[in-house]
């Protein structure tokens, strides 16, 4: 006789066949990140299509190319901060895998804090270029740059909310050696957002 119960839990009794070691939520996250790659890929191809227009002779003469408008060292520091947040994310997950409750919560908070620093820096950057007269409406560079980095910033923002929402449970000891799937998929997302920034930073600021 089978007993039917009902719970909000996933369908835990199923013995999977193929990818037995991969949690279904992790698999879902990877699939989602695949679609995110195409989303950012589309925006990046938009930037490449528009890029020749940003370096037209007239704009070169007026010193209004991305190279002159953007404060590259400042954003380099921001990129470094965001990359550091990937390290703290790894430390957070590592601590929780060893059931170190307080260390795990601390590193989660540190990750969110570094993310906020990055977002703050991006806000300063947006304000600065607005003072130089670059807006969403008035130039090819403005619209392409703001849409691409703006969507990345939105992803960072969502990541921060996600990280912060993990902290109460982490403090209660809800994540431990037996269960750390929540921060793990949050970490997957966070690392993805970092890697996308590496690509965007290279394309907009370096080449």
């Amino acid at each position: 006789m089978a007993v039917v119960t009902q719970s909000a839990d996933a369908l835990t009794d199923r013995a999977p066949t193929g990818l037995e070691s991969l949690d279904v939520r992790k698999l879902g996250m990877w699939a989602f990140l695949g679609s995110e790659c195409v989303f950012f890929g589309s925006l990046i191809s938009m930037y490449f299509v528009n890029r020749p227009l940003m370096f037209s002779p007239a704009l070169e003469a007026a010193h209004l190319t991305p190279k002159t408008i953007l404060n590259i060292p400042f954003t380099g520091v921001l990129a470094f901060i965001l990359l550091c947040s990937s390290l703290t994310m790894v430390l957070a997950l590592n601590a929780m895998q060893q059931s170190r409750r307080r260390a795990g919560s601390f590193w989660l908070l540190a990750t969110a804090f570094l993310g906020m620093l990055f977002l703050g820096g991006q806000a300063i950057e947006f304000i600065e270029i607005a003072h130089e007269g670059i807006t969403l409406q008035n130039s090819v560079f403005g619209q392409s740059f703001l849409l691409l980095t703006g969507f990345h910033g939105t992803h960072v923002f969502v990541g921060i909310i996600w990280l912060l929402s993990c902290i109460p449970r982490a403090l209660r000891g809800g994540f431990h050696a037996g269960n750390y799937i929540g921060p793990e998929i949050c970490g997957l997302y966070w690392h993805f957002v970092d890697v996308v920034w590496v690509v965007i930073f290279t394309i907009i600021y370096l080449i």
Partner: protein, 669 residues
């Protein structure tokens, strides 16, 4: 010793009795009371209820889209007809195309997939039951936001909404905005659904069901899901840029502001061409399920059909610019994309020959489902051939934007996808509702569909070749197009009658007294037929162990799909090596290797599970509230009076936040 005898002796499984074994004998304990009535439906996380709601909603959109088509054919039936003006006609073109693609074919396949995939792979539900409910409601509300535009100005830029025609300089009305939100909401719905399918199919198959034993419909749904995941974000990015162009002053697609209209076409078709394979592949999967059952013969060339689907999915990302031959991409690009487009004909042809091979020498039963499956093959061949001709740039220069293209798309999407969907409907109706659709009415439906469809769309090949452009609302009487346009309209109305017959059939089936429906009325082979019709909430009492491609035909085709009964050394049974190979069984040449990785599957899972408690997802209202919040936010951007904007925005955000909070709280309880 036959496989069946072997297993009976082993005591692992008695193939002839799977159906009986899996019949539910349930003691329900510790259940929270499930809400009944309509509340039970809208809070449901049961994949079967969600699947049925998908099917109902999509069928309603199908009827609406069909009525729009009939109105267009009424206008085009005669030259210089004055039933409607050009603006109305443009709105109808846009509504019809968008409805059929985004609100009918994609979600109807999601509906079939939702209902059938867990049953076919012996799972209790989808991997993410609540996200599944969210997909449903995002799709429904996407349809609602789109049709809200009927109350002000419907979109008028066609289903492709080419920029800059769809930019605010040319179409400042809200119709295009409604279209944008439709793409966003239904796109999100499909994306979440696709992630769900991928997780479910990869991770929740039963013991023994490797990729080489998965039903072909599940294969195609898996490819459908991967294509959606990789194609949808491109159009999401494109419509987001269109939205900022229209409302926030950017000029991504505005040439006067340095924008690039071709960027829209590239992004749109990078989504749009995989999209047509998204529409057709699961229909191919349905046909691959129906044909073997009504030919009483295993599918011919299982691996070829499965991997041809993968090949089609892969190639579909390399052909998008064949929609843009006439835009002047240059000879090299045209040649490259033409090559990809021709290549895609190969795996498609492989599939068609395999279907014919399946029927060849079979003992055919021409039930309605089978008729539609055969009709699918015939019509899809015609659509495929016109597609191959359009893949050639010189031919395309001649035919692009003519009725030839309209004929092609309807042959592959109506003759293909919708015929396949009808086949699946007649085939799975008894499983879903415990009643048959009437065979007599079904045959009337089939023949009316065939006659009406061909009369409506075949003449369009000639009209297109004679130069009749698509998307025109009228034409001069001396163009020589009058007769075939008239015939096409007559055919369209015959199609309309055929759909009425189908609706009559559904009502008749619904009102007929409930009969005792056997588990497996068609004598089919896959796992969904091993449980009751309709299945109980938890699908299977004990999840069967799978030893072959056709678990319910094991007595007849014992080793179809690989080695019989692969049993692990860990289980208290002899390993496969110690067993003599049954001499009386046919080994399908070349098809055994793919299952070699199954050698470590344990036996006896089914038996041990009996008496073991399993969980079903609890009902929840939050997915619907979340989707409703997004609907209100879309309304906020759609309506111009500031008071409405603010009200919609605030309430939408509140609904959204409350739903996320409640959802998270509910799952962490």
């Amino acid at each position: 010793m036959s496989t069946a005898e072997y297993r009976a002796q082993e005591g692992t499984i008695d193939p002839g009795r799977i159906a009986e074994r899996a019949r539910p004998q349930i003691v329900e304990r510790g259940l929270r009371a499930r809400p009944g009535g309509w509340l039970g439906w809208i809070t449901s996380t049961d994949h079967k209820k969600i699947g049925v709601m998908y099917l109902i909603a999509t069928f309603m959109f199908f009827v609406v889209g069909g009525v729009e088509a009939l109105m267009m054919r009424l206008q085009l039936g005669a030259a210089q007809n004055t039933i409607m003006d050009g603006q109305t006609y443009n709105a109808l073109v846009s509504l019809h195309g968008t409805t059929m693609v985004f609100l009918f074919v994609v979600p109807v396949l999601a509906g079939f997939g939702n209902y059938l995939v867990p049953l076919m792979i012996g799972a209790r539900d989808m991997a993410f039951p609540r996200l599944n409910a969210l997909s449903l409601w995002l799709f429904v509300f996407g349809g609602i936001v789109f049709y809200t535009s009927l109350f002000f100005t419907p979109p008028e830029a066609g289903w492709t909404s080419y920029a800059p025609l769809s930019d605010d300089a040319f179409l400042p009305t809200g119709g295009i905005d409604a279209w944008i939100f439709l793409v966003h909401l239904t796109g999100l719905s499909s994306l979440i659904g696709a992630i769900n399918f991928v997780a479910t199919i990869h991770n929740m198959r039963p013991k023994g069901m490797g990729f080489g034993r998965m039903p072909l419909f599940v294969w195609t749904i898996l490819i459908y899901a991967y294509l959606l995941i990789l194609a949808l974000p491109a159009i999401a990015a494109a419509v987001t840029m269109l939205l900022t162009d229209r409302h926030f002053g950017t000029g991504f697609f505005d040439p006067t502001a340095g924008g690039d209209p071709l960027l829209w076409q590239h992004l749109f078709w990078f989504f749009g061409h995989p999209e047509v394979y998204i529409l057709i592949l699961p229909a191919m999967g349905i046909v691959s399920e129906v044909l073997p059952v009504f030919s009483r013969k295993p599918i011919f060339g299982y691996s070829f059909i499965a991997y041809s689907g993968v090949a089609i999915g892969f190639l579909s990302f390399t052909v998008w610019a064949h929609h843009m031959f006439a835009t002047g991409l240059g000879d090299f690009a045209n040649g490259a994309f033409a090559t990809g487009s021709f290549l895609i004909g190969v795996p498609t042809g492989v599939k068609i020959f395999n279907w014919i091979g399946t029927m060849w020498g079979g003992s055919l039963r021409f039930k309605t489902a089978m008729l539609f499956a055969v009709g699918f093959i015939a019509m899809f061949i015609i659509g495929g051939i016109s597609g191959v001709s359009l893949a050639s740039p010189p031919v395309d220069f001649q035919q692009t934007d003519t009725y030839y293209v309209v004929a092609h798309i309807h042959y592959v999407l109506f003759g293909g996808a919708i015929m396949g969907m009808f086949a699946g409907m007649y085939y799975w109706w008894p499983k879903m509702f415990g009643r048959f659709l009437d065979e007599g009415l079904g045959k009337v439906h089939f023949w009316l569909t065939m006659v009406g469809f061909n009369l409506a769309f075949f003449p369009m090949h000639w009209l297109g070749t004679e130069g009749m452009p698509r998307r025109i609302y009228t034409y001069f009487p001396d163009m020589g197009w009058n007769f075939w346009n008239m015939m096409s309209s007559v055919g369209a109305y015959i199609l309309g009658i055929s759909v009425m017959v189908l609706v009559g059939n559904m009502i008749y089936a619904y009102r007929r007294p409930r009969e005792e429906m056997p588990d497996n009325p068609w004598d089919a082979a896959t796992l969904e037929w091993a449980t009751t019709s309709p299945p109980p909430a938890h699908n299977f009492d004990a999840v069967p162990v799978v030893y072959s491609r056709y678990p319910l035909w094991e007595d007849r085709h014992p080793v179809e799909g690989g080695q019989p009964a692969v049993i692990a050394a860990a289980a208290p049974h002899t390993s496969i090596d110690e067993r003599s190979h049954p001499a009386d069984t046919q080994v399908a040449v070349g098809e055994g290797e793919s299952n070699a990785h199954l050698a470590t599957v344990e036996a006896d899972h089914g038996e041990h599970e009996a008496g073991h408690a399993f969980h079903l997802p609890a009902p929840t209202i939050f997915p619907m509230i979340l989707a409703f919040g997004l609907l209100l936010i879309a309304f906020a951007l759609l309506f111009s009076p500031p008071i409405l904007k603010v009200t919609f925005l605030i309430t939408g955000v509140i609904y959204f936040v409350v739903a996320i909070y409640g959802w998270v709280k509910q799952i962490s309880e």
